[in-house]
């Protein structure tokens, strides 16, 4: 029986049409042998073996171990599964088709949650997963409030019973606008946070109580906040909820630093195309950044200082970095962005951490993002250097399960490269 299963694994390693393992795989262990491991924690890679038992990593060691199934990964780089930080995976299927978009709300602003819209059957999930993304923060579009919209965390196993964490980040944005001053935006943020600070837990007992709070607050009333919005605001200033603010201009970044200090916020800044102009202040205030290192375009008047060496400069300033990509359909291209960052001076190991353990740490994602005993077995075995965009995973494990790497895209490819004698619609 075991022999037969090993045989199946051998087939897997030679082809890309992966077989699905039988469900009882959970009762047996998988040993990844002789891998070059970037575990997301240590700065240097090491040669070692990883034992997966059910959904978790049982042991990581350079000494010999026994496993029911053995994958020889010699010469292969193994990393934790990549964690995406800024996506609409699961809530937008086709960008320009509004009926497939669930990323905005007309009613709720600060407390808008996308969690209930998440579609585990989205085609974006297998595609990003087969390229190495094993979990994702999915966030809504910017709302009419400069602070507003709750993002959730999802494990991309594609199961209809969702594994993840609901409403675990708040989002927001500030910057140039065609209809109002950014000074107004900062004032609104200040008023909202000040209102949030004034709320006591007992005021949140009922929606009626909250409605009274709203009536008494000029900013809450003017913005037509709902009880959901007020509860979310309360969490932001009291529960250390990560706040991901999108901003670029150097002067805006400094204002956000002030806001963080004034309200003791758990702030992360996204975009931050001019962060290198104020790098020391960002570093001293421990603000992690989510950047797109391949973007050197002065795309707006807020991003004039965009620079291809930004990642390297920020790393040397001691700032924690994570990566974003402009399109969630190919969010895995954060690998290419990280590769470009390395080409321009960022250290390879820190770039790998930026794709794995840094987001886990910054967003408080427990037991993922590192290859270590006790963590969930979200593990990628790469066919070559993961920062080369030409590379792909050979194996993707999520919660210890060997994921099938077939995608709609590979199915369509195979449909048009095989059985040329059959009419295409009668092919597999």
């Amino acid at each position: 029986m075991i022999g037969k299963k090993i045989h199946k694994f051998l087939i897997v390693s030679f082809g890309y049409a992966l077989i699905v393992l039988s469900p009882n795989v959970f009762s047996e262990t998988i040993l990844i042998k002789n891998a070059t491991i970037y575990d997301g924690n240590k700065n240097e890679p090491y040669e070692g073996n990883i034992l997966i038992d059910g959904p978790v990593i049982k042991r990581v060691s350079s000494s010999d171990m026994q496993g029911d199934f053995i994958i020889n990964a010699s010469g292969k780089i193994v990393t934790p599964g990549l964690i995406a930080t800024d996506t609409n995976i699961g809530i937008v299927e086709i960008g320009a088709l509004s009926v497939t978009r669930d990323d905005s709300s007309e009613i709720y602003k600060i407390g808008f949650s996308i969690f209930d819209a998440f579609n585990p059957n989205s085609t974006l999930i297998p595609w990003n997963r087969s390229n190495g993304i094993t979990s994702a923060l999915t966030i809504p579009q910017n709302t009419s409030s400069p602070i507003g919209g709750l993002g959730s965390y999802f494990v991309l196993d594609g199961e209809l019973s969702i594994t993840g964490e609901k409403d675990m980040v708040m989002t927001g944005s500030v910057g140039g606008s065609s209809n109002h001053s950014r000074s107004e935006t900062f004032a609104v943020i200040d008023d909202l946070l000040s209102f949030a600070k004034s709320i006591n837990q007992k005021d949140l007992d009922t929606d009626v109580d909250i409605s009274e709070l709203i009536d008494e607050s000029p900013i809450a009333e003017f913005m037509e906040l709902h009880p959901r919005d007020v509860r979310a605001l309360f969490r932001l200033v009291n529960d250390d909820l990560p706040l991901v603010m999108k901003a670029h201009r150097a002067s805006d970044l400094l204002k956000l630093v002030e806001m963080k200090k004034k309200y003791n916020l758990n702030m992360i800044i996204m975009g931050a195309q001019e962060a290198h102009l104020v790098k020391d202040i960002i570093a001293i205030n421990d603000i992690p950044l989510i950047i797109n290192p391949i973007n050197n375009i002065p795309g707006s008047f807020d991003e004039l200082a965009s620079n291809i060496k930004m990642a390297s400069i920020l790393e040397k300033a001691g700032i924690e970095l994570m990566f974003t990509a402009p399109r969630s359909h190919n969010f895995h291209l954060i690998r290419q962005g990280a590769g470009v960052a390395v080409a321009h001076g960022m250290s390879y190991e820190i770039a790998i951490k930026g794709l794995t353990s840094t987001p886990a740490k910054v967003f408080g994602i427990e037991n993922r993002g590192e290859i270590k005993s006790g963590n969930y077995a979200d593990i990628i075995i790469w066919d070559a250097d993961p920062l080369e965009p030409s590379s792909m995973p050979e194996y993707v494990f999520i919660n210890g399960e060997n994921m099938n790497l077939t995608t709609r895209s590979t199915r369509l490819r195979d449909r048009y490269t095989s059985d040329p004698d059959k009419p295409n619609t009668y092919r597999d």
Partner: protein, 462 residues
Amino acid sequence: MINLIKYSVSFTLIFFCFNVELSAKPFESTYEPLPSVNVLIKNANIYDGEGNEFQETDVLIQDRKIIAIGKDLPASDDFEVIDASGKWVTPGIIDIHSHMGVYPAPGVKTSSDGNEATSPVTADVWAEHSMWVQDPQYTLALSGGVTAFHVLPGSANLIGGRGVTVKNLQRNTINSMKFPDAPHSLKMACGENPKRVYGNRQQAPSTRMGNIAGYRKAWIEAEAYLNRLNEYESKSDEAKEMGYKPTRDLELDTLAGVLRGDILVHNHCYRADEMASMIDVAKEFGYKITAFHHGVEAYKIADLLADNGICGALWADWWGFKHEAYDMVQANIAIVDQARNGTGCAIVHSDDAIGIQHLNQEASKALSAGLRAGFDITKARAMNWITSNPAKAAGIYDQTGSIKVGKNADVVIWSKNPFSVYALAETVFIDGALAYNRATNFFPSSDFDVGIISPTKNRTEQ
């Protein structure tokens, strides 16, 4: 004496430039290359853009042309010698689909000039008359090895206007950037964009069938116009004086240029079935489609494209932003390339100011997807996708697009194999002149970049 010689040289140069300006016809190229030296690039690994790879080989550049490729080439003392041991040399990269200049950075309303979205057929507009020569994006593309690019109007219209091919040498007039003797192109667009733009205004086209009817009506007018022109031209001089000369029509001038074969059709089209219909429209009116652009479904009709000699100008992996871009296959470019025993024409395009800087990486993704699909494609062949094939599609292959004796010395020296994400373009020559050098920070800056953040610095020095 030395001063006198300098004086006379510069006088000659000034006179020469002046002379060119005077003799150039309206809207024609007045491009002048940068001062060049003769260069021997020694011991380079070369992808020549013709499908060949040469190890440790020399390239000799003299009088702006590539004059020799071979081992241990001799060069006289007046040649600058560049030791390229361990480095890679390719032709200058060419992007067949760019909107730099017509959608410059920063992306603001006041210079968003790519779509004349006021009528579904605007064959009268020329992209070069929208291009902002101070777009700070050109020099970023140059840092990615791009020596020429083709700028198209946007895709809001069925027939969007003329495209232009330019040298990637930033100058202060568009004519001085235009690629000499490059043909104009005509931008056409299928599918969602035109039907959305005009359908939302309750006017035609609002459907795909409306799109096709719209092209055919335009070509019927163009045929009649061309017939009137030909009829007039065939008359004797006397008869011409007696009769009326047909009134010029800018829109029909462009379409007649296509029917005459002077203007190349570049057709934005995603879906396979629509591309097939567009081939029928071209057959009905006797014009040729040079390339389908974006073609996310090109792999479904790769043989049809090869049979009709149509290139697929494609992304490595973009998908999902529109319904017609949903059926992405990463091997799309490879499948188009390999159609009909490798006679297909595949091009990696960018349509993006970031992507244009990394076309080598995009080709690398497309190549690796092709290898995974089971095709036997060399890196040397994949290099054609971003050099000679786009040069052919832009109508400039006789001048550039490959490392070939007699061609313009548009050459890039890369730090590593250009199919790696870690490879950087170190040195770029355009017409044998140094246009970019990474080590010495030698590159053009647009006026926009000057003193815009800090008065004493340029934008990219921050």
